[in-house]
Symmetry: C2
DNA sequence: GAGGTTTGTTGCCTGTGACAACATAATAGG
DNA sequence: CCTATTATGTTGTCACAGGCAACAAACCTC
């Protein structure tokens, strides 16, 4: 069919062929997002006929993307076949951070089956990071079971990424400017590489697998050692903006102060809610996220309490803005700001209410993230998987071993 | 076909029937948005075959929604038939404001063919406003040419509207709280009534007919006597949020000050960029928008200049936030803030740049709105027209005259 | 007026999903 | 244990939408 012109249209493709592709894509997406679904469930939630589902699923099976198993009977009637996403189809997930490059292997069924972290002394240069990532990918690729097929590589970057071509425009903590990271890594690995902002990917991951599962309007805020990043899902679709830089929620100005954040902007959320400030009052010079969370939850020092309260108030002001702007169903907090929320959720909620319109804030749910340390692996892998689910029958897959070897 | 599950999916409708409906809808939307298009243009931009276009357009013609005219030849080859949206199909547009209720008649072809303004002494109650609107609608309906068919009524409200059922949750300037305005007006007129926030509708109108035409990512900011409203289009789709309250850009906090806006929120854009403050320094007690714009552009008083500069700086801070959040292609300014922009565009742009990330702001275009006083009429009429374009063959149309009368 | 070009029209064809009938596998109840 | 009921998978047929090719029509250029 044909996309509605002007309204979110990209291509106005033809019709006859596209119906089939569209339905294949929709089914594969459902299966991917659920991991395992029964055929009958696919039929009811898609509205397609049983016979059509049968036909489409078998085509996905022929493509090696899904497989069917007989279900243990659960109720009256003939038990429906269970359709599962293949775990023979994988994507590599890459996260380039200040202190390490991490690469994981994620299956289409949603599991992180391998992960390697390569610590770096200081911020690596982009060339260094790319070669580390390529090395880890090749190692992990060699360890894959024979028959495994690779969709591609997804990269989660703490900075602004031009999504169309994988160029990193600016990653302040890494000191990277205008780096064609996607093409570089693609050349080194021979695989298609997709890149996006880390927090945006985290948001989508939380929406599909985490604590925002089932919601269509999500605001995600993640605070790490490298400042505060954000991601937004609007009506089930990731907010990207004209060039893919949308969702920079940490750099939203909420105050007149001239304190600068890591990107040089004044009075922003990121400049006022700082991990380092907390470490200072706790007199810690370095700490893991877990240690910091413990400290936030138990401290009673007047000075520390005051700092925490001030950060909660600033966070509340920013969240109020996001509620006015997006009217989300759920706000997901990750990193140490989740600790601020659990420390004094009432203060945060009160502050949020006083900074936003009642109509918009009355039903908002605030939650911690649910994916923990696998967040960015799962998020980054969604990039190649989205390519696959969009075009199930035409996306090229790559073999586990580059050259034929006896195994 | 089938909407991609989870990704912006509402209903997962069937397939076979829907293709036709979908294509009809897409064509009608193209025709509606362009006013007049050639068949060959429809074919190329939709990707459908000539013969299919012919078939679909003739069906739209049978439905009385479009008509074809022979084109004057423009180049080589047989001239393509021009397809135009019917001006026999109309919608009523209603705007309830502090000092008046305005009702217009807008054709599917995009023209405002009639408009009546009914001034009110103070803020009207909702009942009063509904009965005025109904009275004006009935008067305008009686004047319609025989054969005209009515799609419905669209209402633009300065406040938060629950879009699904047309309930006005809060319209601070009007003093309305929890008013089922849509159902009220529907009962009085016997027509389907749709309602939405005025600025959101203005944004969509500017995108389709005004200075944001052709862009997919738009931020719209409108400042009137009743504060500052906003609307956003993301990837060609209006930002609505979970319940339809999204886009309240005027209530975004950008400062620590405790100045309150009309909704009681502190330090927001609306509290800092105020029409009344400008009137004060100009020593005007009341002024039309045009008078105010003239004053803004020509004043040289030190006090007034300072006020204008301060407002520009605050506006720039807010726009910087929106650029970081949405990464839009274009920002449209309406009302007196458009005057701030033309007064000193350089200051505004400099301020915007210092408040946003370079990657996101480097290509942003700032413009005034292009629809003038018809903005809200065109915007409100889009609500019923969207219903029609979504379901061209099933939407019920209403006759101009309620009862058969000899004419 | 002839040739080239673009578009509308017509009849036929293909692919896709719906549908109905039947087969299969479970539960429920006696 | 057998039958009735329910829900699902499978198969063959059918309807329908859009593609396609051939032809006709309307324009331009020379």
């Amino acid at each position: 069919m044909l996309n509605p012109a002007g309204q979110g249209a990209k291509t106005l493709g033809q019709n006859r062929d596209d119906v089939r592709q569209h339905n294949l894509s929709a089914l594969l997406r459902m299966i991917h997002q659920s991991g395992t679904v029964s055929r009958s469930q696919l039929a009811t939630s898609s509205g397609l006929n049983r016979s059509t589902i049968s036909d489409l699923v078998s085509e996905l099976g022929d493509l090696g993307l899904v497989y069917e198993t007989e279900a243990s009977a659960t109720g009256v009637g003939r038990p429906s076949l269970q359709v599962s996403a293949s775990d023979q189809v994988v994507a590599f997930a890459v996260n380039t951070d200040v202190d390490a490059v991490t690469v994981g292997v994620v299956t289409l069924s949603g599991d992180v089956i391998a992960k390697k972290r390569y610590p770096t002394a200081n911020q690596p240069t982009a060339e260094k990071a790319a070669s580390i990532a390529a090395k880890l990918i090749n190692e992990l690729r060699a360890d894959l079971k024979a028959g495994t097929r690779i969709v591609g590589v997804g990269v989660a970057v703490p900075g602004q990424v031009r999504v169309v071509d994988g160029v990193i425009r600016l990653a302040p903590h890494l000191g990277w400017v205008e780096i064609p990271f996607g093409p570089m890594l693609s050349q080194l690995t021979g695989l298609p590489v997709y890149a996006d902002n880390d927090a945006s990917l985290g948001c989508v991951a939380e929406r599909i697998y985490g604590n925002a599962k089932g919601f269509t309007d999500v605001v995600f805020l993640f605070a790490g050692s490298g400042g505060i990043g954000g991601g937004v899902v609007v009506d089930g679709v990731q907010l990207r903006g004209a060039a893919g830089y949308a969702g920079e929620l940490g750099h939203v100005r909420i105050s007149d102060t001239s304190v600068k954040d890591y990107s040089g902007l004044e009075g922003t959320l990121e400049s006022l809610v700082r991990r380092d400030d907390l470490l200072d009052v706790f007199k810690l010079y370095a700490a893991t996220d877990d240690e910091l969370l413990v400290e936030i939850s138990r401290t009673q020092t007047a000075k520390a309490v005051k700092m925490i309260e001030s950060q909660i108030d600033n966070l509340a002001a920013a969240l109020g803005n996001f509620v006015n702007i997006f009217n989300p169903q759920v706000i997901i907090l990750g990193g140490f700001i989740a600790g601020l929320f659990t420390r004094d959720s009432e203060r945060l909620i009160t502050g949020l209410r006083s900074n936003s319109l009642a109509a918009a804030n009355e039903r908002v749910i605030i939650r911690e993230g649910g994916l923990g340390s696998n967040l960015l692996m799962i998020g980054a892998a969604l990039l190649p998987f989205n390519e696959l689910t969009a075009n199930p029958s035409t996306t090229r897959l790559y073999p586990a071993k580059e050259k034929a070897t006896k195994s």
